[in-house]
């Protein structure tokens, strides 16, 4: 299988704090890969480094784009990542509250020049999230938490990424909505997108992941397929509450 993203020995410091200590991970094309772990385990830092939002980290991040070209991502700005096919739906959703739903989606497609295909992708997002179509003219800030999460995912999809990264999509959502959002993530994956998912909701994440990494205080503690980790006694004790 083709490796889309390969992270080797990632180290991140914030001031004197060594937040990520030698994390390595690889993502195969067409997979859902998840990073789980407690608060402060380094999950978000890792995904933010891949997206270009962390400066001055050590280690290598290698990306293979849809055409098969290998690119070193180290310390490139975030706007480059989008153009190369990596999109991040950030933690806390970060939709723009003063822009309409449609403007938020158009912003997601900012780097694209293909107008007709952008319009068809907007249609695709509206079909995926019919609620967004209903509210297309509404300001983002007036949406409910669940709708904002859908908008954040839809906005990331608007760049037509090859690798979709989702940082805590279940954060602050009611359990019923978590199920709905994860159903859609799986649906997006089935249509061929490679997904990197950072989650605190380990059960939900592991049940849809092909591969999972458990991070603990900045380092990989366990890794395996989603199925394996669901059965792993250490993971069950620490993250599944069983």
């Amino acid at each position: 299988m083709q490796i889309v993203l390969d992270v080797q020995n990632l180290n991140i410091w914030y001031g004197g704090i060594h937040a990520v200590k030698g994390v390595s991970l690889s993502i195969e094309k067409g997979d859902i890969v998840t990073l789980i772990g407690a608060n402060g385990a380094g999950k978000s830092s890792t995904i933010r480094a891949i997206a270009g939002l962390v400066k001055g980290y050590r280690g290598t991040i290698q990306y293979t784009d849809a055409g098969g070209t290998q690119v070193q991502l180290n310390n490139r700005p975030p706007e480059d990542m989008v153009r190369m096919g990596i999109a991040l739906s950030p933690e806390g959703r970060r939709i723009l509250p003063h822009l309409t739903v449609e403007e938020n989606l158009r912003l997601g497609a900012y780097s694209r020049k293909d107008k007709a295909e952008t319009a068809s992708d907007m249609e695709y997002v509206y079909n995926l999230f019919p609620r967004l179509r209903e509210r297309r003219g509404q300001k983002g800030g007036t949406l409910s938490g669940g709708e904002q999460q859908m908008l954040a995912v839809g906005r990331a999809l608007m760049s037509r990424p090859d690798l979709l990264m989702l940082d805590e999509p279940s954060l602050g959502l009611a359990p019923k909505l978590v199920g709905e959002v994860f159903g859609i993530i799986r649906e997006i994956n089935r249509q061929g997108k490679t997904i990197l998912l950072v989650e605190q909701n380990a059960l939900a994440a592991l049940s849809i992941a092909n591969k999972a990494y458990v991070l603990e205080v900045g380092a990989t503690a366990v890794s395996g397929t989603g199925e394996e980790l669901l059965q792993d006694p250490r993971v069950r004790d620490a993250y599944l509450g069983a």
């Binding site: 997206a51 270009g52 939002l53 700005p77 975030p78 706007e79 989008v82 153009r83 999109a87 991040l88 950030p90 806390g92 970060r94 723009l96 509250p97 003063h98 822009l99 403007e103 158009r106 912003l107 997601g108 900012y110 780097s111 800030g141 007036t142 904002q148 906005r155 760049s159």
Partner: protein
């Protein structure tokens, strides 16, 4: 007399508004008060002076060159004085802005000399309009309007100013770079995640603001036909007041603030001639008043976010 004052105020207010728009746009995006903005206004006026009076270029070409030159200066200011400080605390950029402002004024003294220079205005803009031929004098008297003496400049300044602001609003609300500007004003990091080259969009913002300020400077030089290196200071301050008054961050607010300020200044002197010495103070009294009553300005909104 009233009609005369009305057009006077409209022109002055429109120019304050045009400068204020530049302040408000930069503030909206970077939370930076670009103190050098008034000096870009001054440069625009000087450039048109040199192009048309020194080098005898035709007016249209001179105006275009002056706006282009001042816009380039605005871009340079951003590139040299603000961009390197983008990650730094906001106060550093503010101090840098004050430094640039002093630098440009003093550079103006060195290069252009401190002597005010007279601007010779083109005839077409200053020959009084044949109002008596259009509206019969009896009609004006019946309406208690009296005799009006208007020059084309008094009409052109507000008309073109409003047109320019309309174009600007179209750019900000209907185009892709405009969408990016509005996004940056709330959340720079997320906007970068969407593939926007933030530095380029900020440069565009400075370019638009500088072009408007340069145009205002040129019109100012034609109204009070002279240029001098410190001519941008007081109009700059007042336009800043207009921007705060209208609600900083809001483009229509800046224009409305500018107009109100123009009317307050002209009308206060028209109705209370003995207070004319306090003319500049009115602007500042207005600012203090609005800050006490509505700190966000007329059209400003509080930054609220739903988490």
């Amino acid at each position: 007399m009233f009609v005369q004052n009305f057009f006077n105020a409209l022109g002055l207010g429109a120019l304050y508004g045009l400068i204020a728009v530049g302040y408000t746009m930069v503030y909206g995006i970077l939370r930076l008060i670009n103190f050098a903005h008034g000096d870009i206004f001054m440069l625009g006026a000087y450039f048109v002076f040199f192009a048309t009076i020194q080098y005898k270029l035709p007016w249209a070409l001179g105006v275009a060159l002056a706006i282009g030159g001042a816009t380039l200066c605005g871009l340079l200011v951003d590139r040299i004085a603000y961009r390197p400080l983008r990650g730094a605390p906001r106060i550093s950029a503010l101090i840098s802005a004050i430094g640039v402002s002093f630098f440009l004024q003093n550079l103006g003294v060195v290069v252009f000399t401190g002597m005010p220079r007279a601007v010779i205005r083109p005839r077409e803009l200053t020959n009084p309009l044949p109002i008596k031929d259009i509206i019969p004098l009896e009609f004006l008297q019946a309406g208690r309007i009296g005799e009006v003496r208007l020059i084309p400049l008094a009409i052109w300044v507000p008309v073109v100013s409003f047109l320019l602001v309309a174009v600007l609003l179209w750019i900000v609300y209907k185009t892709k770079p405009g969408l990016a500007m509005r996004a940056i004003s709330r959340d720079i990091e997320t906007t970068r995640l969407m593939g926007v080259s933030v530095d380029r969009v900020i440069a565009l913002t400075f370019a638009l603001g500088s072009a408007l300020a340069a145009f205002a400077g040129i019109m100012w030089a034609l109204r009070y036909p002279r240029v001098e290196p410190f001519m941008g200071v007081i109009p700059g301050f007042k336009a800043f007041i207009a921007a705060v008054f209208g609600g900083i961050g809001s483009i229509p607010g800046a224009m409305i603030g500018g107009l109100i300020l123009g009317f307050v200044e002209i009308m206060s002197v028209a109705f209370f001639p003995h207070l004319s010495g306090y003319r500049d103070a009115f602007a500042f009294i207005l600012l203090i008043f609005i800050l006490l009553v509505k700190p966000t300005g007329l059209l400003g909104e509080r930054m609220e976010e739903k988490i």
